[in-house]
Point group: C2
Chain length 325, copies 2
């Protein structure tokens, strides 16, 4: 099975790193819209100009798109779906139905198979929600995120005048998460569920009080949360906040029994040292499923909910039944 | 979608109870090898003699087998697979490949679709293991069970002379589970992972010391564990140990990154007030998937690993993408 990556940032490097753990997969190259001469890969992976990708059509079984959801993927995925089976990690939840429709049309018209919105949320957390709701239809879902770096929130802080660098951690409120884990179904506001911790490097002459005020009152991003702002040096940022950890937990509490008296809790949690490496590893496993499902004649657009987990595994169905079931 | 249950014990009653949460499913009756006149269902569900089941062939889309794995299912599932699409909860892990082969042959020959070994382990825990291994190929799995009632171990105690009743709880060792949850990959023996708590009602004239000795030295069941035995009265048994709670946790710790330096933990846990009710709820969701996959022409034997989660949900694919992804 031959794959290629489109975009060589954190996610693309994660796919490259995952290759040593997926011996059935050959990564043939990275496509970039930058000048390939300026892109140095970690493993000597060849880099090609994005404009040349159609020349590689017959050499790529599944293309893994490693671009961003905000501007790249809404255009890129439907365009590439005309010529390639592919996987993307489109994560703007509210726009998934539109993205799905666009990719599905392109894929069906051209006989390709595409899977969108793989990763962990959307992705593994979506699977956790759907399985839990299918088995416990009478109940309530909770999703907590963190402790981890939100790149969108970090970027929002960086756009404030006087900010040189910023890192924002989303942190679940322990009391809220523990109450849900105990089987309670509390009503939780946005503020009840998560806090936001901001670490900011300010310019020497910046008005720190103004920066802090701009952060904690920022609508959508911070205004609805209890937010703390800590000013640090560039050295502290580099030393203590270089990683991109993340994670979270999906919990469903549901009742069973003739009178609904039995309480059941299903909990799925992730703790990730590297958000992009984990997402990349998930993309590779879903790319394997796309490859196998395409060989069985499937075309159109899929999500993670349409994939039988056996298709994601390096093990054969016989091995899975003998050792993993 | 019309289903029926074969066997009306704890599991069958659980399916009956789940009907009020699954409005798209009609339960048409329970088949029993007992005298139907002696079986009183909780919701007025009709009871029919097992011998008459072929008369209902055209009225049942999916049959849910609610018998035991030790003696019932190895014979029953392949026999009924000739005439019915079905789901069972066969849980003897070591014999799954044989059971699969027998059911697959019967189903393929007769054009039915059967899913074996649904429930939580095998079942949801198998899914957790396979997803986690597919995404983190370099890592280690741990499965902990409990705190919960093991019916097999309870039965083993009841067979000891002088024992009137018994309930055995399997209990994960907290220190071991916490170490794994922290991301460590300890080497754990059987004894390190679980303890066994036994509550026993002894006959008035029984030799309690001999019973305790017989329990803690019993090969396979108790000899390899730290086991505690507590003698209680029949009244205490009825008051404190009437339920069948269970649960457990599947954890995988895996490395990612070019040098394998990032540590990632995936954890899936269940805490169930009622093991049979939860298992029954899972059987109903997998029966829905069998029904849909059969309509698309699939035949043969499946396991939970072959099912796309969207097929288990009451929600449409559009609703799932809009609200659950």
């Amino acid at each position: 099975m031959k794959i290629a990556i489109f975009g060589y940032g954190n996610l693309g490097r994660g796919v490259e790193a995952a290759m040593r753990q997926n011996p059935d997969v050959d990564l043939i190259g990275a496509f970039t819209r930058r000048d390939p001469a300026t892109v140095k890969t970690r493993t000597g992976l060849p880099v090609y100009p994005a404009a040349d990708i159609l020349k590689f059509k017959d050499q790529i079984d599944v293309l893994i798109l490693c671009g961003g959801s905000a501007t790249d993927l809404p255009e890129l995925t439907p365009a590439l779906a005309k010529d390639f089976c592919l996987v993307d990690s489109f994560d703007t939840h509210a726009k998934i139905p539109t993205h799905f429709a666009n990719v599905d049309a392109a894929a069906k018209e051209n006989g390709t198979l595409c899977l969108i919105s793989a990763g962990w949320d959307p992705g593994m957390f979506s699977l956790a929600r759907v399985y839990a709701q299918a088995i416990l239809p009478e109940g309530q879902d909770y999703t907590f995120w963190g402790r981890g770096v939100s790149q969108g929130h970090s970027d929002a802080i960086r756009r404030i005048p006087g900010v040189l660098d910023a890192r924002q951690y989303t942190v679940p409120v322990p009391e809220a998460m523990e109450a849900v884990e105990r089987g309670e179904n509390p009503e939780l506001t946005t503020r009840d569920k998560h806090t936001r911790e901001c670490f900011v490097v300010a310019a020497p002459d910046a008005d720190k009080a103004a920066i802090e005020q701009a952060i904690v009152t920022m609508p959508n991003y911070f205004a609805d949360y209890n937010t703390t702002v800590t000013f640090i040096t560039a050295e502290e940022m580099a030393r203590d906040h270089a990683g991109l950890p993340h994670g979270g937990r999906v919990i469903r509490n549901g009742r069973t029994g003739i009178h609904g008296l039995s309480r059941n809790t299903i909990s799925y949690s992730l703790r990730l040292d590297s958000n992009p490496e984990f997402t990349a590893s998930a993309l590779v496993a879903f790319a394997r499923a796309v490859y196998r499902m395409k060989q069985r004649g499937r075309t159109g657009c899929l999500t993670v909910l349409d994939v039988a987990p056996a298709d994601m595994s390096q093990l054969s169905p016989e091995e899975l039944r003998a050792h993993m079931l």
